[in-house]
């Protein structure tokens, strides 16, 4: 079998939009199931009282990562055809810091705000309006920040490529860190729960 199916021309652009909708349903469904439709639950991540964001996000990351590794290894998926966002390290780190502040101030990220709005959270609608304004501001000042935006390009590079490390070892390290992190997260949650009780 040849995968990614789309890149092998198994279906065209129009069908891909239907696929997008179906994949989107799954995306939104599991986000809501995890509790990501609630800004309070998302923000609790940053006060150490509920580390669901970390748990869900890293479970998803290691599931997809390990799954993709083995599917490529058996020859089902051509890994080189899966689109990796190119790295521009400095603008990405700065953008990440701004986005992180926006996350804790606003309570959502773009994907979760859609789910929150769909389940009736009024603040999520306001937040969505803010996102549009933020992108508009970026679009308007783009000629000014274009130089910075295009700075420090490193291409479509992965962490193992950059470190000169075998892909499989990196996969294991990430799994190990994540599973260790889960145990740590549960421990922190318990600590915080007793602390809240005492106070």
């Amino acid at each position: 079998m040849n995968a990614p199916f789309f890149k092998f021309g198994l279906f065209g652009d129009d069908v891909s939009l239907i696929v997008a909708f179906v994949i989107g349903i799954g995306f939104g469904f599991f986000l809501e199931r995890a509790g990501f439709g609630s800004g309070r639950k998302l923000a609790a991540q940053f006060y150490f009282t509920d580390l669901t964001v970390f748990k869900v996000m890293f479970t998803a990351i290691i599931t997809a990562m390990v799954g993709l590794f083995w599917l490529s290894w058996v020859g089902l998926v051509d890994l080189s055809l899966v689109y990796v966002t190119p790295t521009y390290i400095v603008p990405q780190v700065v953008g990440g810091l701004i986005l992180g502040v926006g996350f804790v101030v606003g309570g959502y990220c773009p994907g979760t705000s859609c789910v929150a709005a769909a389940t009736g959270k009024l603040d999520a609608f306001v937040y969505l309006g803010g996102i549009i304004v933020g992108i508009f501001v970026f679009g308007e000042v783009f000629p000014l920040v274009a130089g910075f935006y295009e700075s420090t390009p490193m291409g479509q590079v992965t962490v193992p490529q950059h470190l000169g490390m075998p892909y499989g070892i990196m996969v294991f390290l990430v799994v190990l860190t994540a599973v260790g992190g889960f145990a740590g997260a549960s421990w922190i949650e318990k600590k915080m729960a007793t602390k809240v009780k005492e106070s």
């Binding site: 599931t63 083995w70 499989g168 294991f172 889960f182």
Partner: protein, 217 residues
């Protein structure tokens, strides 16, 4: 207490599964090598034999003039040569990076280089990697020059050829070439300078990078 899988919670079982799969990944080797494609050698042989994968330069010229945009024209030569002259609408991708994912397997791809050898090698490489619509510009850039840019009307040509030449002259002027009349090279050579790299009127240069919408978030 005896260790048993049944004593584990669902979370511990999941951790065990993902942990083992991750651990085995260490010994599995590169995931990039796993992909192999099968080549239908008989099918390939038929294609080569019947030359159905060739695009004559006249046909390509026609497509460019009419602004057809359902194909991607790939120049396989060195960058310096590409910058000096290339067929309008062409993009420059060299042989080593041909299957890096810049091209889609669904696209109609037309390859050319100076002669035919590089195109043939790239053609085979792409076919072996599962690209469907790969074509070669017949005769490469050499034929493009001979037939499109600098068509030549031999002395004492029969009337049919003269009529055809009138059309070729128009095409040649469109691409900034110069039609040659008569067998003598002496008059032709100075005029046979490659056209400057300005897109002929009416042809929008395809900006490969800008045209493709980005895939990321």
């Amino acid at each position: 207490m005896k260790f048993s899988l049944n004593n584990l919670t669902i979370n511990q079982k999941l951790a065990l599964i993902i942990g083992s799969l991750g651990f085995l990944a260490v010994f599995a080797g590169s995931p990039y090598k796993g992909f192999t494609s099968t080549i239908d050698s008989e099918e390939l042989a038929t294609i080569v034999e019947k030359e159905v994968d060739h695009v004559p330069p006249e046909e390509l010229a026609g497509w460019i003039i009419t602004g057809k945009a359902d194909y991607r024209l790939i120049d396989l030569r060195k960058e310096s040569e590409f910058l000096e002259y290339h067929i309008p609408t062409a993009e420059n991708i060299q042989l080593p990076s041909i299957s890096d994912g810049q091209l889609n397997r669904t696209e109609k791809i037309i390859l050319y280089s100076d002669g035919g050898i590089h195109s043939a090698q790239a053609w085979f490489l792409l076919k072996a990697n599962g690209y469907k619509g790969v074509y070669i510009l017949r005769g490469g850039l050499e034929d493009w020059k001979d037939k499109i840019l600098f068509p030549r009307l031999p002395d004492n040509a029969p009337p049919t050829e003269v009529a055809a030449f009138e059309k070729a002259k128009l095409v040649s002027t469109f691409f900034g070439g110069s039609p040659q009349i008569g067998g003598a090279a002496a008059s032709g050579v100075p005029a046979m300078a490659l056209p400057k790299l300005e897109a002929p009127a009416g042809v929008q240069p395809k900006a490969g990078a800008a045209k493709k919408k980005k895939e990321g978030c």
